[in-house]
């Protein structure tokens, strides 16, 4: 058993003995169950089919500080904040910092509180739902340690004027840090909101973020969700975004990955009622030794839903990309429309990508399609641009920009899109 696994077990047991009122709350029983399952399964290894291409072995051998409470100042973080008016939520090493957060939307529209203070009926229904990732060792350990989780509630009929941005800071200045943010976001009936998660490591030691965000869209709700990963090369990330659709709801999720040493994103979408739409967009732009793995699932459980997925990747140097996209169409899900596309460009001989589309269809009246491509920059296209006087570097940049722009133009928040465009331009130089 690794040092980390030992440490987690001990910590959990100590916390348990310190608990007041015993283990009778619902949330705690889910934590405990997850912990016991974790004890059985341990961390995922490459023997696990879902982790075949992403090897965390050397990361998980390291020693981590797992209950680090630190304070950052406004000055420490302000350089990382996006230049847009927003409901700003700051988490440091996975723990909500009320002082550094600022909420612009009125409490009649947006409510933020600790998960442990949430009404039992919500926890019962929406917290730590069984999903395709929930039994993964890292998901289990997140749930086990979800004590400091956050609950974000977009209230009924509210159309949020400002996006909600969750800034996740990992302070690894004093040593290796494991931070485990946990969020439950519920968008009530007829509400509309944009949620942005972004990740930043401060310090040069290893920062390992193991996050779960559960997002629930109730009747007729619309949520645009963004995950922005432009972290340092000593940062490691494993995260699951679990989206549950109730009737007539629409979600879009956009995952942009530029930075990070190893990144694994699970995006699991359950279309659990009729007339829902889910858009899944992703862009990964890798260099050096970066490794980025996107596992997505569109689970069509009910009829008349639509899902549309577009993930694109550009791999340079020795970087590696992984895309695994599953579409399930369950027996009840007649009239499903599900589309998936994954396109990759390799810029160097040593870069690689593994892409795997998987469709499992159990209904007969459906429309599904998928496509995956891996290629180099089109030599003919390059020659065409150059033959008009555009230099080779500029021509490559133009083509890569056009390639990436397909995904970027799906970002609906203009200042965010501009910011990411600038970052990507910078990267393509």
């Amino acid at each position: 058993m690794s040092i980390l696994q030992n440490k987690l077990s001990e910590d959990f047991k100590i916390a348990e003995t310190n608990r007041i009122n015993g283990s009778d709350t619902l949330m705690y029983s889910k934590q405990k169950e997850a912990f016991l399952n974790f004890e059985k399964t341990g961390f995922p290894t490459t023997k696990n089919e879902e982790w075949k291409y992403t090897n965390l072995a050397s990361l998980l051998k390291e020693d981590f500080n797992i209950s680090p409470s630190v304070t950052l100042t406004k000055k420490d973080i302000e350089g990382f904040l996006y230049p847009l008016e927003a409901n700003t939520i700051v988490l440091i090493n996975g723990i909500y910092s009320k002082e550094l957060s600022s909420i612009l939307s009125p409490t009649t529209e947006l409510e933020i509180k600790e998960l442990k203070h949430v009404d039992k009926s919500i926890t019962e229904k929406y917290f730590a739902r069984k999903t395709y990732s929930s039994n993964d060792g890292l998901s289990l350990i997140n749930t086990a340690f979800s004590e400091n989780g956050l609950f974000i509630n977009v209230l009924k009929n509210s159309v949020l004027k400002y996006p909600v941005i969750l800034y996740n800071f990992t302070d690894s200045r004093q040593g290796n840090i494991l931070s485990q943010p946990r969020n439950l976001i519920v968008a009530e009936e007829n509400s509309q909101a944009a949620i942005i998660e972004s990740f930043h490591t401060i310090g040069s030691n290893t920062g390992f973020t193991n996050i779960i965000t559960e997002l629930v869209l109730k009747l007729n709700a619309t949520v645009d969700y963004y995950k922005i990963q432009d972290d340092t090369d000593t940062s490691y990330h494993v995260g699951s975004t679990e989206i549950l659709h109730e009737a007539k709801s629409t979600s879009s999720s956009t995952t942009i990955t530029i930075g990070g040493a190893i990144v694994r994103n699970n995006l699991n979408i359950t279309l659990d009622a009729e007339y829902c739409e889910a858009y899944m967009n992703g862009l990964y732009l890798l260099k050096g030794n970066q490794h980025v793995d996107n596992h997505t699932i569109a689970d069509h459980a009910k009829a008349n839903c639509y899902s549309n997925e577009l993930y694109k990747g550009i791999m340079d140097d020795k970087s590696t990309g992984v895309f695994n996209g599953k579409i399930f169409v369950k027996p009840d899900a007649q009239k499903t429309n599900a589309f998936q596309s994954n396109k990759n460009v390799l810029l160097s001989k040593e870069a690689s990508v593994n892409t795997k589309p998987q469709l499992e269809i159990f209904a007969d009246d459906v429309k599904c399609s998928h496509g995956a491509t891996i290629g180099q920059l089109d030599e003919e296209a390059l020659f065409y641009l150059r033959s008009r006087g555009i230099g080779e570097t500029q021509a490559k940049r133009l083509l890569l920009h056009a390639f990436a722009n397909d995904v970027l133009e799906r970002i609906k928040i203009e200042p965010l899109r501009d910011l990411l465009l600038a970052k990507i331009e910078e990267r393509l130089k």
Partner: protein, 252 residues
């Protein structure tokens, strides 16, 4: 302007296609290069534009006193060589407008000129659009993506109009065009012609030459120019086909 001496080139490092080609083009002239399939017509166009797949194994190409073969494709364009592609490439995500603005400014930079400002660029674009009868909505779309054959060729001539080359090489620009599109494309080329620039028309058929009247017609066969004449030669070829050329040259 252009002097090609004993040009030899091969593709994929083995198949010799050009076997000692000579050609001299002066400002104000229109040259037609005709020949049967596989004679090396498109190879000549590609070699002049600097396509990577072709390797020059001998000879020289002088363009306005400079060694053209030493230059990158972009520098050839910046010096004033333009190739209208036989099969223009579709590039999703890059609009023709954006593409042309980038290209024009790179060419200007090379020539030590300031980038063109937006109003001047738009004015120029509008003027050239009329010249080749191309619609602005087409130019706002991704480059050539989903364009018809005729639209693609018109877009080539539009780009030529924008870049104002000294030497334009039209590689089978007539292929896949109906008679109306052919006329529009040819009109565009004719309007762009002046005493300081030159055009090389590479074509299999004579019909484009009804519209773009050449000063010289060359027959390219088996990697060499085997016959040179006036536009009457093109008519003769149209009538008699290429077999007599082949026969003449197999005897010799």
């Amino acid at each position: 302007m252009l002097t090609i001496k004993n040009l030899q080139a091969q593709i994929d490092g083995e198949k010799q296609i050009l076997k000692g080609l000579n050609l001299v083009v002066k400002p104000g002239e229109v040259h037609a290069i005709m020949g049967p399939n596989g004679a090396g017509k498109s190879t000549l166009a590609s070699v002049l534009a600097g396509r990577k797949d072709y390797e020059v194994t001998g000879g020289s190409v002088d363009f306005l006193g400079k060694d053209l073969l030493e230059m990158s494709p972009e520098d050839r364009a910046r010096e004033g060589v333009f190739l209208a592609f036989q099969y223009p490439i579709e590039i999703p995500g890059v609009s023709t407008i954006n593409f042309m603005k980038t290209a024009l400014n790179e060419v200007r930079k090379y020539r030590g000129l300031e980038p063109m400002d937006a109003p001047a660029f738009l004015r120029m674009m509008k003027e050239k659009m009329e010249l080749v009868e191309i619609d602005q909505s087409l130019l706002k779309r991704s480059l050539n993506e989903g364009f018809s054959g005729g639209e693609k060729k018109r877009n080539e001539i539009f780009q030529m109009a924008m870049l104002e080359p000294k030497l334009a090489i039209l590689d089978e620009t007539d292929s896949g065009l109906d008679i109306d599109a052919l006329r529009i494309v040819a009109n565009g080329v004719n309007k762009l012609k002046n005493k300081d620039n030159a055009v090389i028309v590479v074509t299999h058929y004579q019909r484009l030459l009804d519209y773009i009247v050449p000063d010289f017609v060359h027959v390219l066969y088996n990697g060499k120019i085997v016959k040179t004449g006036t536009k009457d030669l093109a008519l003769e070829l149209e009538e008699k086909g290429y077999d007599w050329i082949k026969a003449e040259n197999s005897v010799a």
